[in-house]
């Protein structure tokens, strides 16, 4: 079934000329390990940025930094106007979507229950949960346990979550992995729509050819910094 990305929620436009992401000389150290160093990056509304790099280069760390889930150890940065070192970042998290390697859903709950939980926490009407699942082609699996669903179905559920909630910044880590062709179209539809509506998207992928077709630019992480 080809997913219909026209229903469900969408990215909310962010007005103003300030970049959505601005990192100045940002470094991230976890414990005694330096992961990122001297990262300078600006991402404006409407951009789709491809983020590439070798294994262990720090791509996931960069995504989690932009998701405000980790703080910079050096440098300064803002995401959606919130200083990454201050309490402000809690206020903008609701506008940031992230889909990582490992699904962040609860295997004991059904796909529908996972999404309804997300809707309740995010303050979205719960009925949008089922609508979003239908939109991503999982209408027939709403009552299936997430743990009993395939990795691809779990990923589609996460995309449904991002459809359901208005996001200004979407961070995707290997979004195409485990997805069939229909779901890949879903992903690219979501990316395009978020950018069109004034948000921004950062996509980590090893599939440079595919990402370069949809990205407005690409950056490479090498030596812990961006080029």
């Amino acid at each position: 079934m080809i997913p219909d990305t026209s229903s469900g929620g969408g990215g909310s436009p962010t007005t103003g000329g300030d970049p959505l992401v601005k990192l100045d000389g940002v470094g991230v150290r976890i414990g005694s390990t330096q992961i990122l160093r001297d990262v300078d990056l600006e991402i404006s509304a409407g951009e789709v940025v491809g983020l590439f790099g070798a294994n262990g280069a720090g791509k996931t760390t960069a995504l989690r930094l932009m998701a405000t889930l980790i703080r910079p150890s050096q440098g300064t940065g803002t995401v959606l106007g919130a200083d990454l070192t201050s309490q402000e970042r809690y206020d903008v998290r609701r506008r940031i979507g992230m889909i990582g390697h490992t699904p962040g859903i609860f295997p004991e709950l059904t796909l529908g229950e996972n999404l309804r939980y997300a809707a309740r926490v995010a303050g979205v009407p719960p009925e949008r949960a089922d609508e979003a699942l239908v939109a991503v082609g999982l209408g027939g699996a709403i009552d299936r346990r997430a743990g009993a669903s395939s990795h691809g179905m779990q990923r589609r559920t996460e995309f449904a979550r991002e459809l359901m909630i208005d996001r200004s910044l979407l961070l995707l880590d290997e979004p195409h992995s485990a997805l069939d062709r229909d779901a890949v179209d879903l992903v690219e539809g979501l990316i395009a729509r978020t950018a069109e509506e004034g948000g921004a998207v950062v996509v980590v992928s090893h599939d440079r050819d595919r990402i370069n077709k949809i990205a407005s630019r690409s950056v490479e992480i090498q030596g812990g910094t961006l080029s």
Binding site: G31, S32, T33, Q34, I35, L36, A54, G56, Q222
Partner: protein
């Protein structure tokens, strides 16, 4: 240089002097009418117990200080005090047991204060165990500060347990609603001097321990300031030819 050497030595001098005074007084004070010379354990046991409470209170203050200011100096105070507190709590318990055997006929009585002091010992052992699981000084400080505040809940409970439960253990020797139980002025003096001497020991040990923690932190800061390869540089292009 001489002034620096004197500065480093003063804590040890203070410790030796104050303990010498306390020891002398404890030896010249009279024996107890019932326990005889056995009572002299009190001059170490009670100050050690007092120090345990003081140390854990300082850990509480240090923990609160860190949570409010995020200044690692507070965390160093809290950590140093917890280490010293664990030592003196262990000493108080051991001496209490040595005192208990001839007095009550058993090493351990399950008396409320003794038992709760043992519990306090484990709370702060847990605190030190938690500190060992985290390398990052800031993360370590934050987590152990929260635990330090929680652990401090034990201290008033330990003290008031005797009053509430009226058990075998001596009622508090000094801090009682109707005044100290010890009537002999020399015994009381020896006990108070002992408490003061141990407080000097505590202060001196704190100075030295905080110095050591500062040096450790400085070492970590130096190591972190050295430009090292980032984690990703450990991953290179595979070379299947290398294995054949």
């Amino acid at each position: 240089m001489q002034a620096q050497t004197r500065n480093r030595q003063w804590p040890w001098v203070a410790i030796v002097l104050s303990l010498a005074v306390a020891f002398t007084l404890s030896m010249v004070s009279p024996a107890d009418s019932v326990q005889g010379d056995l009572v002299r354990i009190m001059y170490v046991h009670v100050p050690a117990a007092w120090l345990a409470y003081l140390a854990f209170f300082v850990t509480f203050v240090g923990s609160v200080g860190y949570l409010i200011t995020k200044d690692l100096r507070w965390d160093r105070i809290a950590a140093a005090s917890a280490e010293i507190g664990v030592y003196f709590t262990g000493l108080a318990i051991a001496l209490g047991m040595i005192w208990a055997k001839p007095t009550w006929g058993v090493w351990w009585t399950w008396d409320a204060r003794l038992t709760l002091t043992a519990i306090m010992f484990f709370v702060y052992l847990g605190y030190l165990a938690l500190r060992r699981t985290t390398d990052d000084p800031v993360v370590r400080a934050g987590r152990s500060s929260v635990l330090g505040v929680l652990g401090a809940l034990q201290i008033p409970l330990v003290h008031f347990s005797v009053v509430w439960w009226r058990t075998l253990h001596q009622p508090p020797s000094l801090v009682r609603p109707d005044g100290p139980a010890i009537q002999d002025p020399l015994m009381l003096t020896a006990l108070i001097v002992g408490v003061l001497a141990f407080t000097v020991v505590y202060g001196s040990l704190m100075v030295k321990r905080i110095e050591l923690i500062k040096l450790d932190d400085r070492k970590v800061a130096i190591e972190q300031s050295i430009e090292r390869p980032v984690a990703g540089e450990a991953v290179t292009v595979p070379d299947l030819g290398a294995s054949s």
